[in-house]
Symmetry: C2
Subunit: 250 residues, 2 copies
Amino acid sequence: MTRYALTLEYDGRPYMGFQRQAHGPSVQQAFEEAAETVVGHPVTLHSAGRTDTGVHARAMRAHFDSEKTLPPFRMGEALNARLRLAEQAVAVLDCVEVSEDWHARFTCLGRSYEYVIANRRAPLVLEAGRAWRIAQDLDAGAMHEAAQVLVGRHDFTTFRSAQCQSASPVKTLRHLSVRREGDHVIVAAEARSFLHHQVRSMVGCLALVGEGRWTAADMRDALEAADRRRLGHNAPPDGLYFMGALYPGE
Amino acid sequence: MTRYALTLEYDGRPYMGFQRQAHGPSVQQAFEEAAETVVGHPVTLHSAGRTDTGVHARAMRAHFDSEKTLPPFRMGEALNARLRLAEQAVAVLDCVEVSEDWHARFTCLGRSYEYVIANRRAPLVLEAGRAWRIAQDLDAGAMHEAAQVLVGRHDFTTFRSAQCQSASPVKTLRHLSVRREGDHVIVAAEARSFLHHQVRSMVGCLALVGEGRWTAADMRDALEAADRRRLGHNAPPDGLYFMGALYPGE
């Protein structure tokens, strides 16, 4: 049995999220079906994060176990060939062999996301489904300042979806920054793990700050209330990208 | 009669190029049909450049004449509303009123393009149809050096398609640069005007240089031969973006 660790890129638009669903396509199913034709037996893909419908990944980390052993480079090439044949919007960026104690989800030390806001009036064409368009001029500096309120160990109940299955609402947000690049405003977030919808919920509230409707103090009040009804706004999935994960020894 | 000057963004993938075609969708037709519902009479869209099938625009400059006069901002909003309703991959980024001696094609002083190469092994997912994937490591420095051979006034017959309708193969290339940004290699080109397929032909040959199969001297030989049979390679449309145009007084 050989464990392969993968770095995956995917476009979230055709999928009902990462995780296999009974009633629609998923990244997991797309990958597993491709892998099964390569290795000749059922495969389970484990990932660092389980992104929602419409959320993208630039570098999702994942693994699967194979009874067929190929050199990792050839395995990656074979998987990409099958994924292309099936016209899936998933690609293997990297494939390496790892020991059986390496687990994409359970040994992961950190996850990072970026959220892309296209701050412009015109409807999105080249970025349709790939960014959140906000027409009103955003104050990225004020957003960055308010973001610092959220950094650290907090009860993030306000920023948690009703479907969240995490045992505790307390998480440590290591990094949250907001930067402007031309007509884009980019929010970067890093933590060991996130609650369901946490990044999109934080971004929704940061957008209110950027529009001048919330202050950093409103952000602090919302956080301290630990009450989902205090959530200002949930950002759409379009602009969210899983950017990377960190493992011991990296 | 009011003349509106526009800046347009479009995704080239759904269209058989900018120019109206008898047998397929075009950017021109998409825009003209949207505009006709707004102004209530037939409209002709004139543009700075007529891009090929699959070529994109970040800022195409164009104009049309309208018997109905709206404030430019409202005209832009109305056009975008119709384009969205028709699910077209075209958006109006800017709309201003100009005098009748302003012509998107005939008064244009310069056009600029960028060509995006994704220099990576894995198939493209997030950039499918939006970049040219080259797996072999490219030497962007060597490409930039070879690009300088082409800058200036030359007979570009080697880099001209058989369908080119330009009166002369002599053009002045004002700028041609190659830069690396992570795993992307970006070619930027600027001239008053280009021959048909000129940018894609130049990029195709620059890629040969990047792969070490051509030298700057080979590029010079190909240029000086003024012979289409000496063309090394024509890059696909996917990576080509019309980036902007320049007019008197700008």
